[in-house]
Amino acid sequence: MTANNETSSADRGIRALIRRRSVRWVLLGIVLVLLAAMPFLASDYQLAILVSIFLAVIGSVATNMLIGVANQASIGNAAFLAIGAFSGALVSNYLGWNPILAVLSGGVAAAVIGLIVAIPAVRVRGLYLIIATLALHYIVLYLLTRYQGSTVGIGGFTMTPITFPGLTLQQGWYYIAGVVALVTGLVMRNLLRSKFGRAWFSMARDEVASRALGVNLFGQKLAVFGLSSFILGIEGALLGYYIGIVSSDQFTFDLAVSYVAMVVVGGLGSVAGSVLGAVFVIGLPYLVTWLTGLLPAAVATVLSTKVFALESLLYGVAIVAFIVFEPRGLIYIWRRIVGSVARRFGRRPVESDSAVETTERPKAPPVKEPVHRLAETVLAARDLQVTYNRLSVAVDGINLSVGRREIVVMLGANGAGKTTTLRGLSGFLPAENARVSAGEVVLEGQRVDGKLPFELARRGMALVPEREKVFKTLTVTENLAVVPTRKGGDRSGMLALIDEIFPALRELRTRQAGYLSGGERQMLAIAKALVSDPKVLLVDELSLGIAPVVVTRLMSSLNDIRKARDISILLVEQNAPAALAIADYAYVLQTGEVLLEGTGAELLKDPEVQRLYLGGSEAGHYGHYEASEDAPTLSATTLSAASRSARRDRS
């Protein structure tokens, strides 16, 4: 998705290395001359490897366009190669077309099938597209095998060899495959920078959004499928000529997987990545052969009967290793090398996203002396900073604490960072791409930041999230049963308590949570959080989508709970009046920082809070505040204006 940016950053790296234009042209010239002269420098064996690589590059680029750029996960590559090869064989054998026309016909035939596949692909996405193309592979190969079996049999279709006057077969093919690969790569590179490329990238990111931006999804999918299968068809027909015969058993599912492997290993969405991937996947067996040749004779003898299995094993291991440890592929590694070379030579370093990772953020300001409160601290955040996607800092320098049996309220506009703060306190999963990047979270005297959510839950931190708060496909009973009890917690006592404060839930035991009303769902969410007998209960948007009467009842229930069960509560709430009324202490957040804090009573009286949350003089009516999803929200701009004035007042 960021391939465009990355390409340009790599370009900048190379430019940094080779600053002067003239030097650049000379270097480019040398590379081109070397490439052109290669057939006369290298052995036929080396040339044959290079031809294999060039041919693979063609398909790898086409596959990457479909999978990496447009996010259309297809595994039908080998089928398209086969269609191209067979079409080329048929028109050259039966119609006597010349090789150029035959190769083009291979492309056209594959493109036609590709377009037919694209029509359902508009509906079918994701994993289903993989399966559909997998089925396509087997059906196409079945039909071709049947056809071949009933005509020419195992021998396959013999292609009239292309001869090269004055050149050996490998030298000639080096130029053909090299030029086609180069042209394919350049066309793709330019295409990705055109409006087509932008449309495909945006389609890959978000189909709905790209449709809103005016991308014709149907047309673009047809275009990307048609073009990529056209290129694969060309490669298939070329393969047929290069190999000399066309036979269906050349186009195995393994072949299809190897092209996908090239794309994944090389780097999704990048033309240069496709090239690197092809070099890696095609070059690996030769590398292993060479390496085993270097081994001492004794070791080689032991290995000799196993070496081929090991070779295949290594290929599998490489795929797994790249996916797990470097999903950005070889192209990313390559760019890092280029970048570090550029730095070594004292040039401007490459700007890449990695720079952000290593950059230390400026040190947070010294910790403010926590406001002295009577209650012993159960949960505290010190200079909490949460970063999403390695890059965007969502909240920064949050300091807050929750005392034993306290109800602490967090207020703030949409986007102020309340939910992020709660999530930072309760932990992230690795897959969420978010982390506590600075500061610490302390639960009952122990640092817990960086722990997984379930570990925190088992230590007594229970969260009622804002949106996904109950398991909709589970019944009410199952929703409660699924939650493990905190170590040393009193489950039966909590169940009794839940029965007591939420008697309505008892009637709904066998109902699926998806069929509950908003209020019932919220009750269940709180019950679900309570059943583990937590030490701290974090509730995000208690009043969201719930009738005011219910909110009032829930608030009072919470008040009862903490008294009855020694539970501290941290409440994020938009319904400020209702929350502040029961709060022992409260924080007001704004754009990721704590703006104001104080006891509930203090903040209720605070003119800023009054103005922002309590509607000025109408503050008295807060008890009947209409709580709905959009009612009490403030725009970020009003709030920040307010905060500026608040700061001015204080200083």
Binding site: S43, D44, Y45, Q46, L47, A48, I49, V51, S52, T145, Q148, G149, S150, G153, I154, G155, G156, T158, P161, L169, L239, Y242, I243, G244, I245, S247, S248, D249, Q250, T252, F253, D254, L255, S258, V279, F280, I282, G283, P285, L287, T289, W290, L291, G293, S304, T305, V307, F308, A309, E311, S312, E326, L330, I333, W334, R336, I337, S340, E357, T358
Partner: protein, 401 residues
């Protein structure tokens, strides 16, 4: 973070160096002709064909291992004439044709005398075409490729289609009083190779006067043969001919027998392990093979071969019929090298290959080898059935070694 990057950098550098090195190392020496002096070793290349796909997983490795095992044993004794070692270069094409072609280029541009391809895949034809120009001896198990124009230059290590057809039909005729008018059913696994074969077989059967009934190709992934078994039961054939894979044969035999059909079944896919034959344990199942049963260690040649295989770290299961093929092929290559020694060139080696035969020694029927007009190594097929009292597959008299 920084250490992680360092690791990535080191890994990246290692890959880059290795790739660069591999290209640099691929440069083979270009001395295609040898001088008058006796070389310290001869180089022969074995191209194997391995992929996780079935079609080639069956044969490539065992053949290469058989070839290598024989040559290793020979080298341990000092090599050809006790003087010149045989350097076996093994190259793997991963069932990919372009890789096969590149591997062959290496054989061409190095001082390799002969290129012995183990695969049945279609990689053979283009390689053979190029090999012929370079005067390099090639071989393959592609015995069915008689019709593609390169046959005279390729030494086939497997019997050809005609041998199979004649042996199978002869054996089938021996099972009935009169072939004429008798019903015969045919079931084989589906591939272009077998489909070609099916045609040859059917036309021969028809011309012999058989009435060919159920005649089908079944995908190699098929697990259920009950429809075929039912149809055959309704056909009342006198003999059933199959070319089923290792994993299919037990199920098929069980299902056909459960339908009350007791007639002889002749399977000719030639890679049925002795363990499988023992498991099926059917008195009327016959297997057409080109090698002696490899678990019968009362056969001295087999016992010797198994001992050598064990020394190379292989199990009995590894040394199957294809292993024997590679082993015997190496024996022929060694004999040819002996003929053209001390200074074999591609030309003299090729000429020697053309006239070399070795005694079957109980590994194969007849004397395997080549003549200028016949490039099929295995001249005679044998028929094997399971002897439950000996718990061994044994050869059937009249169709034995």
């Amino acid at each position: 973070m920084i250490t992680k990057h360092k690791i990535r950098m080191v890994a990246a550098a290692a890959i880059a160096i290795a790739l660069a090195g591999s290209l640099a190392a691929c440069r083979g020496s270009d001395n295609t002709t040898s001088t008058g002096k006796a070389p310290s070793s001869y180089t022969v290349t074995v191209g194997t064909d391995l992929s996780s796909a079935f079609s080639s997983a069956c044969c490539g490795i065992p053949i290469a291992n058989g070839f290598k095992t024989y040559m290793d044993t020979l080298n341990d004794k000092g090599g050809v004439n006790g003087k010149t070692k045989v350097n076996v270069v093994s190259l793997d094409d991963q069932a990919d044709v372009t890789t096969g072609l590149a591997n062959f280029q290496q054989a061409l541009s190095s001082n390799t005398l002969g290129y012995f391809l183990t695969s049945a895949s279609t990689v053979l034809t283009p390689i053979a075409a190029q090999a012929t120009k370079a005067g390099i001896a090639t071989s393959s198990i592609g015995g069915y490729m008689g019709g593609v124009g390169v046959y005279p230059y390729v030494y086939n290590s497997l019997p050809n289609s005609a041998s199979y057809v004649s042996t199978v039909t002869k054996f089938a005729a021996a099972q009935v009083s009169s072939a004429s008018g008798s019903g015969i059913d045919f079931l084989a696994y589906d591939s272009t190779l077998v489909e070609t074969f099916q045609k040859d077989m059917t036309s021969k059967l028809n011309s012999d006067g058989w009435k060919v009934g159920y005649n089908q190709l079944v995908p190699s992934s098929a697990t259920d043969f009950s429809v075929a078994a039912g149809s055959m039961a309704a056909d009342h054939p006198k003999v059933i001919i199959t070319d089923l894979l290792e994993g299919q044969l037990p199920t098929f035999v069980q299902q056909i027998r459960s339908h009350g059909v007791t007639v002889p079944i002749v399977n000719f896919s030639s890679n049925i392990d002795d363990a499988t034959v023992a498991k099926i344990n059917d008195p009327n199942l016959y297997l057409v093979e080109f090698t002696a049963p490899t678990s019968d260690t009362s056969n001295k040649a087999i016992a010797t071969m198994q001992a050598q295989a064990q020394k190379a770290g292989l199990t009995t299961g590894d040394s199957n019929a294809f292993f024997v093929t590679g082993y015997v092929q190496a024996e022929i290559v060694a004999a040819a090298l002996k003929k053209c020694a001390p200074d074999c060139t591609r030309k003299t080696f090729n000429a020697a290959m053309n006239t070399t035969t070795v005694p079957g020694n109980g590994l194969m029927a007849g004397n395997p080898g080549f003549s200028p007009t016949n490039h099929v190594m295995v001249k005679k097929l044998i028929v094997v059935k399971y002897d439950s009292s000996k718990q061994l597959p044994v050869t059937v008299s009249g169709f034995g070694l």
